[in-house]
């Protein structure tokens, strides 16, 4: 699988960089981290322009985030119509994005990047302030592009090793943070139960 992706990068060059970062922000399952690492390696070997790769990767990612946010936002009207317990949850979620949305958007761009596409939808649906979403989002994407292109550049001759270890690290981080979040939710639920001593 890795080999066929590696073939695509010299063939389509910067097009594949911009398309993969764009689509991966919309939860299309594309190995964009691997493509970014490979692009970094080809920048190191003189086959791709570094400035071009960084700029197009950033443009693809930022536009993808905006589309995801807009889709979420367009669904937020449905949430407004909810009543009762569901409405309470929606208002709680909206408060949460107002207080912690920035850091959540920022860290889901690079540290917990597999969660990024869903965060776009959620923050859009929760009507997070667009300006804040964009500022934190762009900052996070800059970090992501720098890390992946940089790692590909530095470890150009070890691209397969870096790609396979790297994808597992992001899997551990993303699944780990979801587990911790659910665990805390579960704890709160059990604690709120009057039968629990």
């Amino acid at each position: 699988m890795i080999d066929s992706v590696l073939e695509l990068v010299p063939k389509y060059g910067l097009y594949i960089v911009v398309m993969s970062t764009f689509l991966s922000c919309l939860a299309v399952p594309i190995p964009s981290s691997l493509i970014m690492l490979t692009a970094g390696a080809f920048v190191a070997s003189g086959d791709l322009s570094g400035f071009g790769a960084a700029t197009l990767a950033l443009v693809g990612a930022v536009v993808g985030d905006q589309v995801g946010y807009a889709i979420g936002r367009s669904a937020s009207g449905v949430l407004d119509r909810l009543r009762g317990k569901a409405a309470v949850m929606v208002s709680k979620a909206r408060n949460l994005t107002q207080t912690h949305g920035g850091i959540a958007v920022f860290s889901s761009r690079w540290l917990f990047s597999p969660l990024g596409p869903y965060m776009n939808l959620v923050t859009g649906a929760a009507q997070m302030n667009w300006f804040r979403f964009t500022i934190w989002g762009v900052a996070g994407e800059i970090v992501w592009v720098t890390i992946y292109l940089g790692a590909g550049y530095i470890f150009a001759s070890q691209i397969e090793a870096i790609a396979s270890i790297g994808s597992n690290i992001s899997g551990v981080l993303a699944a780990g943070i979801v587990t911790i979040g659910l665990g805390q939710w579960l704890r709160a639920v059990v604690k709120a139960d009057p039968r629990t001593k």
Binding site: F42, I165, G171, T196
Partner: protein, 127 residues
Amino acid sequence: MWQRKMGFMWGNQMKRVVRTFKEHPFLTSSFVIAFAVTLFFVMRMVVFTVYWSDPAHRDQKVQNWMTPGYVSKSWDLPREDIEALFKSLNLPIERKSIGRIADENGISVDELTRQIEAVIAAYRANQ
């Protein structure tokens, strides 16, 4: 005596777990699944790290997807050496993979790979 007490406490814990699951089936199973997925990635990470820390696995071979530039970068081979080889085979030096260069110029990829590996070997022998 203490065994009985431990058994009693353990029973209580189990009851609590079962009750939590019954009352919040979606939340509890999501937590269990997320935890399992985390463990899965931790295991994979360990396996891959062990695999790649073996130097034998790290010595990559010349492959179809590599470009002439990538080969010279990865094996610390002077660009002129690979350019000389391509010139002798009447191949253009392009920003394309060697698989594609071979296809477009009617030479077999295996043959080109062998030739490149010979150049690398010759260069290393001279070092």
